[in-house]
Subunit: 355 residues, 2 copies
């Protein structure tokens, strides 16, 4: 059921609007511009927003936009009951006393984080299982927000971004996963499982493509365990195409994909080869927690979810300024005040902010 305007969400906190924007080809965002009230069992409300950016077909994005919330709900419902002190909750009276071994104390919010992480993994496995039967094409990034018991859980797998604007100030709620930001993870995997490179790629990074005439000479390189650059003597193997190549928006894993986390992509291969990309992609989101009760929020404070289509052309601060300048000019009771259209260079930017 969709959350009606002026619901209990509103009463919990002033931070109740979500701005979203998508301009990229392949962005799928069904029914997610308004938060879902996924569950109100036992007086526990769970709200859900999501943003999926598809590539190489819309199938994975469509499926994820319809099903990911069910995986999340399945897992968070029991945890939510636990957090209220249900049977089996850590520290609840019914938890059997620990004997012989010390038991790690697990903060309650770690159960919700783990539930969301598991849901992403299960969603990805479901796409893998059902992709042939239901013809689920391509892959997608996933940016998901769950509200539960006074906290926002922002889970990001991909290069979308979430920010909170509180009193005009930007609070980043995610970081982007790209070939450049995940270089060391990708190189480490390739170093440990070199067969994944199909004898076509090298896990080492060089400042540019190595030429045959440079074999035996010294060149700068970076391995998985380095953040700086050092010199090595070029060998025959270094002539292979680099696992990660290109800079900024042009950076690619095995010359194929520019985003390193998300759902789907199980059939994605390096062009004209039998080398699969999927082992290098991760469905694990990074989950950040924002405690709504810890801060005072004004009526113009917002949470913004957007794909790289927005963040490639506007800085966090520019988005914050646009929202902060627009909202105070609207009647606070106008339910349409969160819809504005702006034309930024060649992009038609649509920022919708919902109650």
């Amino acid at each position: 059921s969709l959350l009606p305007p002026r619901c209990s969400w509103n009463k919990l906190s002033g931070l109740h609007q979500v701005a979203r924007y998508s301009c990229c080809k392949g962005v799928v965002c069904f029914g997610c511009h308004i938060p879902f009230l996924l569950c109100d069992t036992d007086g526990i409300n769970l709200y859900y927003w999501s943003l999926f950016d598809g590539h190489a077909g819309s199938g994975a994005a469509v499926v994820a936009s319809k099903l990911l919330q069910h995986h999340i709900l399945d897992r968070t419902l029991t945890r939510a009951a636990s957090l209220r002190g249900g049977v089996g909750a850590p520290g609840s009276p019914s938890t059997p006393p620990t004997r012989f071994f010390t038991e790690k104390k697990i903060p309650h919010e770690c159960l919700i984080i783990g539930a969301i992480e598991s849901a992403f993994k299960e969603m990805d496995l479901q796409i893998e299982r059902e992709r042939t039967v239901y013809n689920i094409s391509g892959g997608c990034t996933a940016l998901v927000v769950v509200y539960l018991l006074g906290k926002l859980y922002v889970a990001n797998a991909g290069d979308s971004r979430a920010i909170i604007i509180r009193n005009g100030e930007v609070i980043p709620m995610s970081s982007e996963f790209t070939p450049e930001t995940e270089r060391q993870r990708l190189q480490y995997l390739a170093y440990m499982q070199p067969h994944l490179l199909g004898n076509e790629f090298t896990h080492l990074e060089f400042p540019r493509r190595v030429q045959r005439k440079e074999v035996g000479k010294r060149m700068l390189y970076r391995d998985f365990n380095m953040t700086g650059w050092a010199y090595k003597t070029i060998e025959e193997d270094d002539l292979k195409f680099p696992l990660i190549y290109g800079e900024g928006k042009k950076a690619r894993v095995m010359a194929t994909i520019g985003v390193t986390r998300g759902l789907g992509d199980h059939d994605l291969k390096v062009h004209d080869s039998n080398i699969y990309i999927k082992p290098f992609l991760s469905s694990s989101p990074e989950v950040r927690v924002y405690d709504l009760l810890q801060y005072e929020h004004g009526p113009d404070d917002v949470l913004i979810l957007a794909t790289d289509g927005l963040w490639d052309v506007l800085l966090n601060e520019e988005v914050a300024e646009a929202v902060t300048n627009f909202l105070p000019n609207c009647d606070p009771d106008d339910p349409h005040r969160f819809v504005l259209f702006r034309d930024i260079s060649s992009f038609s930017m649509e920022v919708r902010v919902f109650l």
Copy 2:
């Protein structure tokens, strides 16, 4: 040659004192309490401080304290010349023009970071090669500071810590590498190369030891790609001893070692087994850069290097307070003002601050 008091270091910046402290058994710190002037070729001064905390024998710590600076000097000298615009420097007139391929622009300080990273790796390889001939026992953490061309490079492999105190404010210059902070790296390695666990350990983490009667029941767990906790059904394999077990100072890798980066330890095995620990240990330091020219420094600003012996009993702020309260009471020209003795509970704490 040792750096004489009132040297050019002093003229470069007010931040010229180093406090050091060691109380742990096995800490080796030969000649490193006074910075080495390693090199003054072509008017380029390179200063060096280091702190090694040994375990399971002092051999590795002694060798590293005598030789690591040579590995660092070998590699940074050529880079330092490059930074001044020597032949082969990135962007220097003698660098051949790039054709056909785009070339990544590498910031100069990344060459120094890479040089230090390589030096740690080579030092570790040298200990491995020579440990039998020279009877080099045990392993050690390594915390090293290099001053070059206006910048401090703080390289840390282990659980020592460096902080800068600037105008009474603490600036952390390192982070600690322990089984808990490196859980995901260690679990990922074990997940990908399970033979390293010798059929005795599980890479999964549980809140406590799993008991046989719990097979088939559900329990919380964490895998390498999770920061939260989720539920799984306990299997036979989960009864194995966890790769990482214990909390805080008691956390151990394979029930053996409580620090996950450093030098040496090539012969370290799990007690009464043939399982080597070394594959899980990394000799890669994390290198942080501090630009001395970017800030104003007063005469009481200090850089403090200390092992866990200090940080286990005092917070950064407490150390900062002790130093900040003591120094202004001394004659600024007294070369001994940086030597003070304090008694903190049962520890005999020695903070020496050198020019």
